[in-house]
Symmetry: C2
Subunit: 509 residues, 2 copies
């Protein structure tokens, strides 16, 4: 169990300081949660003002010279015994946030909040009306602000590195390009082989009439089966599924967005968000109310949502073990369908325009397209006005299909109304997940048998003990190495994709 | 429409300062709302820590010398033209909160938060186990803290005045005693006459099987019929119904606690909380994000919940106009029941042990008992240990019944785990409500006919225009005088009670 040296006066002072910040940040997270699940239609502006005020207070606290002095004093001693990994991580994260905050003037932080709110509204209207031109000025403003932010944060090689680092500490374009090249290669070649095989998967069993209340009950049972603790969390609806926590493992909530005619949406979102939630709930209680509670990074977080969703939750053995839940919830619909048919349907490969609906083979191509485009925007190699044209060209090049409208293309999601640099986390998560998956399979020789028996607790226990408990104590690469024994390596992902979809589509070679 | 002199530099500075405070307070209200509607079971301690931190930040802001200087400068000029009533109220409320905060040291505020949390737990257990002795030490601690708070705030005549003033500015024991004497008298004599009449009301039509989902839908329709705006609010469940807003009229939410076998609980809570909510939603938009948004005081707030619940919502004309909603929700149950029978049932008089279930005739006796007891506790005339004995004695004296256990007596609700001085607001609210009710009846000669026709919008429009729009600009007595043309006067309540229940119970004289 990670422990802080609470008897050390300055560690204790830092903890006290950061706990207050953590409490205030948790109230911000609560405001976000509420905005997505319950906020009345006409209260958006007032909530925006509340969040801006809170952001100001947090900026004030993070930039306090008193905090800077405390960090500096601790940095001199904390590397050595008897200080713990938790102490060192606390000082490291405090330094990181203190630096980030002091490098951005409060006026810039406030300007970003204003532009983000206005940009969100502009995007919403533009998407409705398929009118990229009306969104372009706001996107340009966001790009300009993100460039300024990157310059203020600083970077060694390329400006985009500064933004990557916000979501994945120490990640760079150089590292990403090395990881992404084999991903692009395996995705493209596998897609080609699947398409050339002429084989098709029938996914019709996912469609029908599934009343929302029964979907909710089913998703609750699925979460309980995975080991999610409802005494430390809850399930709600929101337009886009997400998971949030409030600075502690004792309050980790998730949302779904059930579709009445399509069961896969809520079920797979439940397992995906459930993965995030299991990770958060597994964090050591000793890290509660500190910046170290939660996941190591966004990439590592996505590794857990994708591990549970794809590597475990879309597999046939998993559904052998859990199909009775589907049958109990919708007895008529699933009377003549079996686990194998259902899990095959979940894994149907088909290039599509919308990232969040993509299969595992094409998913990372969506990410790579966006990564390339936003890196080019930030580094000044691409004008906002050319974005739709280039977007469509790359979809044709990578996926062989082209959006019929910007609404289904460059305007499809909200990401570019705020920060840049997040997308790569998704693919990084897939890579980490593959590596962890093979570690698990190697650790548990009877992995598939246990899954087919309805057991996933052996996975959760192992991950808790080797990974979840540490929260943000270890940096992503370090953590992956501790969990898998190796540095992040894209080969596991290539192997996984080829094995799984080779088998599903009966590809030779 | 109330307006601030925003072009005046110091008014503007004060507004900016108070808007930030209002935003932070709104996040606290959100945390409370969430705690009552969604917080996971095991997250209570962490939420407590978050709220304590926020309380500290708010204390810091309210006590800032910079704020004190701003208030002092404005106080010199604000009484005169061209400053507005809104400006004056802003300075008045800022002074009030600044004084209150500076008179309590932060250590006392924190100690109160700790004792409150522990006392709540002790009360919960004591109530479960009917064990007042285990709660007594915590109640003693709370009494001691409340006495200290009162002494620090200061008072002119009696210590309890200092606590009354927190919920009802300028209210004193002297004023209360003058208002409460006729209330006690009319309640006791009316109860006696009803009991001696031997007449009884059959309330069996309120009992049956009412599935919660249908109750929710019914309550939504009722709220819409009353003029509550769901684009600026929402309805949820909580163990105890309440209404909250977040520093603005654009986000005003309420809760109910439906009972599956008893329809009156959710329906009347909906109208009661709806009254609070209509008041909050009616506040002028110009007061948004300031301490002036919301109701004038707790007493004035209760006047609106009680006005809508009792004076309007339990009347026969109202149900003539709205019975179709009950029938639509529960067609079988209400097939052979009519509006007259239903509204009579709602008004059945029967002395009971539990305040929140009390009828209008006995309700204020519950309040008066508690007012007397807590005044005696605060003024040092009563030892905590004697409380259960005295409680039971006064219930026998006033209501003619006696609790069989402390669980149904002195431990019945949570109020005495935190502050003292709130209870009188309930009765004060009933008095204000009666006075406003007769003003409305005088203004609208066809009051009952309009109600019976299903219209309540004329009431809401009038109240908005004459009362709601002003938020907290006017002090309670001033506001009541503006709305009704007279100072608060208990005679209206006595008249209302005698008229209504005289008719219902066919009392002669």
């Amino acid at each position: 169990m990670p422990e802080f040296s609470r008897s050390h006066e300055e560690v204790n002072a830092l903890l006290g300081y950061l706990q207050e910040i953590s409490d205030l940040a948790a109230l911000g997270a609560l405001a976000d949660w509420d905005q997505n699940t319950a906020l009345p239609e006409e209260a958006g502006d007032v909530r925006g003002a509340q969040l801006a005020t809170l952001r100001g207070v947090l900026h004030e606290r993070w930039t306090a010279p008193e905090l800077g002095r405390l960090i500096a004093r601790l940095e001199k001693v904390v590397e050595h015994e008897p200080f713990t990994d938790a102490d060192r991580a606390l000082v490291r994260e405090a330094r990181r946030e203190h630096e980030k905050a002091t490098r951005l003037p409060r006026s810039l932080v406030e300007e970003m909040a204003r532009v983000e709110a206005a940009s969100f509204e502009a995007w919403r209207r533009a998407r409705e009306q398929n009118d990229f031109a009306s969104f372009a000025p706001w996107l340009s403003r966001t790009v300009a602000l993100q460039r300024e932010v990157a310059d203020r944060y600083g970077y060694r090689e390329t400006r985009y590195d500064a933004l990557l680092d916000l979501f994945e500490p120490d990640l760079t374009v150089r590292k990403l390009d090395a990881l992404f090249a084999p991903v692009r290669e395996v995705s493209l070649s596998l897609l080609k082989r699947i398409q050339e095989s002429g084989r098709n998967i029938d996914a019709s069993c996912l469609y029908g009439h599934f009343p929302v209340a029964q979907q909710d009950a089913l998703c609750k049972r699925l979460l309980e089966a995975l080991g999610y603790n409802f005494k430390r969390g809850g399930l709600a609806h929101s337009p886009h599924p997400f998971t949030t926590s409030f600075g502690s493992p004792v309050d980790v909530r998730l949302t779904i967005h059930p579709q009445e005619n399509f069961i896969a949406s809520a079920v797979m979102a439940t397992i995906h968000e459930g993965g995030h939630a299991l990770y958060e709930q597994g964090c050591a209680f000793t890290l509660l109310r500190t910046p170290l509670a939660g996941g190591a990074s966004m990439g590592v977080h996505e590794s857990q949502s994708r591990l549970w969703e794809n590597y475990i939750g879309s597999s046939e053995p998993f559904w052998q073990g859990h199909f009775h839940l589907l049958r109990a919830a919708f007895p008529e619909h699933f009377a003549t369908i079996d686990a194998a048919t259902f899990s095959r349907a979940l894994n149907k490969v088909e290039p599509s325009l919308i990232r969040i609906e993509a299969d595992e083979v094409t998913y990372n191509l969506h990410i790579i397209i966006r990564y390339e485009l936003e890196r080019e925007l930030i580094n000044g190699e691409l004008a906002v006005e050319s974005l739709p044209r280039l977007w469509n060209a790359r979809y044709r090049e990578y996926l062989g299909i082209e959006p019929d409208s910007d609404t289904n293309g460059v305007l499809q999601d909200v990401h570019w109304t705020s920060g840049f640099g997040y997308f790569p986390s998704y693919t990084l998560g897939n890579l980490y997940a593959a590596q962890i998956y093979y570690t698990l399979r190697q650790t548990f020789a009877d992995f598939d048998e246990r899954l087919a028996g309805g057991d996933t607790s052996f996975i959760l226990d192992w991950l808790r003990q080797h990974m979840y408990i540490y929260g943000m104590i270890y940096l992503p690469e370090d953590l992956i190495q501790r969990v898998t024994g190796e540095m992040p390596d894209a080969r596991y992902f290539a192997r996984y994709l080829n094995e799984k979809f080779g088998r599903l589509y009966e590809l030779t070679n």
